[in-house]
């Protein structure tokens, strides 16, 4: 409901509340609707995969499955971070995957009233990943769309 919540909000102005997990990458605070989060795996070092595309951060073992992880830093063109990182296990239409972030913060409840669509002045690359933002008291919570971070989709975009 999160995504459709934020999208549909653009049409109707009535207030609805959305629970969002906040994650930090570099200096930005990103948010992911909690419905898409299966689990948060703390400080893990994924197994690197030789010859994999740059956005792939390696493999992790998650409840009997082997998951591909996506490096958010790479997608945002930030330099890679040394040492273990936090991983969000996300569920998208295409399956389950891991998202590597610097650190995971608290769960915030935000109101649809504070929602702003992604501004057009952002570069193409970022606009393709981001899904608007919520205005918090002192800063912005930039929303990520799990569907657009799915490795299968990123792979297809890269190939095209």
């Amino acid at each position: 409901m999160s995504r459709s919540g934020s999208a549909s909000h653009r049409k109707q102005k009535s207030e609805s509340l959305v629970e969002v997990c906040s994650v930090r990458v570099d200096k930005t605070l990103f948010g992911i609707p909690i419905q898409h989060i299966l689990e948060i795996v703390g400080s893990t070092r994924p197994q690197p995969i030789p010859l994999a595309p740059g956005f792939v951060g390696g493999l992790i073992h998650y409840r009997g499955d082997v998951l591909t992880t996506v490096r958010l830093r790479y997608l945002l063109e930030l330099p890679p971070l040394d040492g273990p990182q936090d991983i969000l296990v996300l569920e998208s239409a295409g399956g389950i995957f891991g998202l590597l972030v610097d650190s995971v913060g608290e769960v915030l409840t935000v109101s649809s009233v504070d929602y702003e669509p992604t501004p057009s002045i952002l570069d193409e690359r970022r606009r393709a990943l981001l899904d608007g933002a919520y205005k918090l008291k002192d800063r912005l919570l930039v929303m990520l769309d799990p569907e657009r971070l799915d490795p299968a989709r990123l792979g297809a975009v890269r190939a095209a």
Binding site: A52, H61, G64
Partner: protein, 741 residues
């Protein structure tokens, strides 16, 4: 749908499957009362239950069939080809109705009166005049409309496994199968139906358990207090895994049994004559794999009948039996089941493939000109390839072989084709016994672990640092290794994974070459080091990573590390390793077996050199002394669930007794049908031996050979006394129980 109806559907389908098998057999043995009885029962059961459930169409159709079958059973009419064709149509009709019920809960509103009329019509012929009159009057309206057409005038003999052309093999199977069928009814009470999804889930959970076990074993290896417990966990896990896998196993006869009908129909449609032979129907395969080979097998049979076996006239002109032979064979070979479809038809002419492949633009003329016979044959698996001069509705649309290969490779199998012009074609499918768990060798490169499936691994070559500089030969920049006189192309795993690295062997540590054979492409994969062999649970990779094309999956190792599973076939393709020539590889095999006869594993036993014939060596195990158990005073080893005696003439085990963690080396050998272990101090080398002849007499000396210039004793495997017959297992169990208690 209620349970009753569901049960009825399952039972009826099983009954019809049985009926189909019996019908094709019946054509061979029209007088067989048992077959007739079986067919009658299948139809009768359907009729009985269906009346109760209220499926009117089904009841009427089954009733008509039952009447005809009743007369057949009572010997009033005989089962000729016409009758059998009609009964097969009855079978199809019943199946269709069952399918409709399964899909929509009702029979639909079709009309079966044509089929019913035809079944009733057939009841008449052998009857005395009076009865015929009655029948004729009853169905006078139907008679002129019916044309029972048999395209073949010649008798079409389709023998299932029942036909005894290969007396030794088939004859022994048939009674077993027949009794199996008879026992089926008796065992019905001790079996129950289980949902496949539940079995799948159990299989996944067992996979997880295997992973956990591997991790527990590694974590507790250093702790002597845990040895017994972890060993027990190991055994229970292995047993459980085997049981769950067994629960999913089904005999290939489930798929083979569809073939007699297919062959019957196709031979009629194509005007061929063929005898079907089936062997090894009791061979078992995982259910999902069995499902997966159904289509490829059907395609292969179609192809054999359409393109392989020639029309009778052509065969006769070529001096062959006008009736062709199509044989299906299943046999288990280690962790694989080999399913073969072979015919004694025209074979595939390599020249035809060459010209067709060029015509279709599948290869360039230059490339085609270079290809050897074996490589050309592989082209038939390319999409869009078909050599049939005419496109028939049976095959020839250029999809068959491509589909066969794709389907078989999807489940981790392999397809090979072997053909000789004028003699026939054999298609061989190698199917893994199970999908989920495979034995693999863990190798290391670029600081990571990788799993190499044992199936493709033929041998390992160790190159010590001092030989590293000279071991590789170069031909225009391509690294080659001389393996027993043959040049083996090398692929450096580190260089493959991190392009730009230099191809060379390390001079400061050991190097290992894994000799791989992937679809006839032989090459050596150079890795940094070898870790233990492990049974790995295959986990699928996401599409992005599969696209890299080197990995077939991933797995979790005993030390909880993740490892990517290398795909030897793809590596060969990516690095351009070509298929070795048939002559060459045949030669190599000959040489190898010749060499193996005189090659020995050189070992040291308490300071003396001894030799074990290499061909008898199965494995070399290094294990802690605690793995050795004693039956009385005899040391034994529990190896892959089997107890084998360990020969300890050198007193190595006795010396290791002080500390249960002392590693001991046991060479596991084959001695006829049994396995024996030889405790040795070290394994020294593999080397060729020369037979020694006694001076003067020229008689070959027994039990000694000349190895590395030294006369060496050959271990007499047959001399290892067998274990006592019955007391072994309880005794060792008891010991364990006491310690645990």
């Amino acid at each position: 749908m209620d349970d009753l109806t569901r049960e009825f559907l399952i039972e009826s389908q099983e009954g019809l499957d049985r009926m189909e098998r019996c019908l094709t057999d019946l054509e061979e043995r029209p007088q067989d009362k048992e077959l007739l009885g079986e067919i009658f029962r299948s139809v009768h059961t359907i009729k009985g239950t269906t009346g109760f459930l209220g499926f009117k169409r089904l009841e009427k159709l089954a009733h008509a069939g039952e009447n005809l079958l009743g007369q057949l059973r009572d010997g009033k009419i005989t089962a000729g080809a016409t009758v059998i064709t009609a009964l097969l149509h009855l079978l199809d009709g019943l199946r269709e109705l069952l399918k409709a019920i399964e899909a929509g809960g009702s029979e639909g509103s079709g009309d079966d009166s044509d089929l019913i009329a035809r079944l009733e019509e057939l009841q008449a012929p052998a009857q005395p005049a009076k009865a015929r009159e009655v029948a004729a009057v009853r169905h006078a309206h139907a008679t002129p409309v019916i044309k029972v057409t048999e395209p073949m005038a010649a008798p079409v003999a389709i023998a299932a496994s029942a036909a005894p052309p290969e007396p030794a093999e088939t004859a022994t199977l048939t009674p077993a199968e027949a009794s199996k069928a008879r026992n089926q009814a008796a065992t019905a009470e001790s079996t129950l139906r289980v949902d496949v999804t539940l079995l799948n889930r159990m299989m996944n959970l067992v996979g997880e358990l295997v992973l956990t076990r591997n991790q527990v074993l590694q974590a507790t290896a250093a702790d002597p207090n845990m040895t017994l417990l972890s060993r027990r966990l190991d055994m229970v896990t292995a047993d459980l895994r085997e049981s769950v896998m067994k629960a999913r196993m089904q005999p290939v006869s489930n798929v083979f049994s569809k073939m007699p009908r297919l062959v019957r129909d196709l031979t009629h449609a194509l005007g061929r004559r063929a005898r079907l032979q089936m062997e090894g129907q009791e061979t078992e395969l995982d259910k999902s794999l069995l499902e997966a080979i159904k289509d490829p097998l059907t395609h292969a049979v179609r192809n054999s009948l359409d393109h392989g076996i020639e029309p009778p006239a052509v065969r006769e002109a070529a001096g062959k039996d006008p009736e062709g032979t199509l044989s299906l064979r299943a046999v288990q070979e280690g962790s694989h089941v080999v399913v073969e479809v072979s015919d004694d038809g025209a074979g595939i002419a390599p020249e035809k493939i060459r010209s067709k492949a060029i015509e279709r633009g599948l290869v360039t003329p230059e490339r085609a000109a270079q290809m050897g016979e074996r490589e050309l044959l592989q082209l038939i698996f390319l999409p869009g390839f078909s050599t049939a001069a005419q496109v028939t509705n049976v095959s020839g649309r250029g999809v068959g072989m491509d589909v066969v290969r794709t389907n078989v490779e999807k489940i981790g199998g392999k397809v090979e084709v072997d053909s000789h012009v004028g003699q026939g074609t054999t298609l061989r499918m190698r199917i893994p016994l199970t999908l989920a768990i495979i034995p693999a060798l863990i190798v290391r490169s670029i600081g990571q672990s990788f799993a190499l499936p044992q199936g493709a691994l033929s041998e390992l070559v160790h190159i010590p640092p001092e030989r590293a500089a000279t071991a590789i030969e170069w031909m225009e920049g391509a690294p080659l290794y001389r393996l027993r006189g043959h040049m083996l192309p090398l692929v450096f795993l580190d260089r493959l994974l991190m392009p730009g690295r230099e191809c060379r062997l390390a001079t400061d540590r050991d190097n290992f070459i894994c000799v791989l054979d992937a679809d006839g492409r032989r090459f050596g994969l150079v890795v940094d080091s070898l870790a233990d062999p492990e049974e790995i649970v295959v986990k699928p990779l996401s599409a992005v990573l599969k696209d890299i094309g080197l990995f077939s999956g991933a797995t979790v190792l005993g030390n909880a590390d993740l490892a990517l599973i290398l795909d030897p076939g793809s590596i060969a393709l990516q690095t351009g390793v070509s298929i070795s020539n048939e002559e060459e590889s045949a030669q190599a095999v000959d040489d190898e077996s010749e060499a193996a006869r005189m090659r020995y594993l050189l070992v040291e036993v308490a300071g003396r050199q001894a030799a074990v014939p290499l061909a008898d060596v199965l494995r070399i195990e290094q294990l802690p002394f605690s793995r050795i158990e004693y039956i009385g005073y005899r040391p034994v080893l529990n190896f892959e669930g089997q107890l084998l005696p360990v020969e300890d003439s050198g007193g190595i085990l006795a010396a290791a007794q002080a500390d249960p963690q002392t590693p001991v080396v046991v060479v596991i050998c084959r001695d006829g049908n049994r396995h024996v272990g030889i405790a040795v101090s070290h394994v020294l080398d593999v080397t060729s031996g020369n037979n020694l002849f006694e001076a003067g007499t020229g008689t070959r000396t027994e039990g000694v050979t000349l190895l590395k210039e030294r006369v060496t004793n050959v271990v007499d495997l047959g001399g290892v006394p067998p274990l006592p017959a019955t007391e072994d297992a309880p005794e060792s169990r008891q010991e364990t129980a006491e310690v645990l208690g």
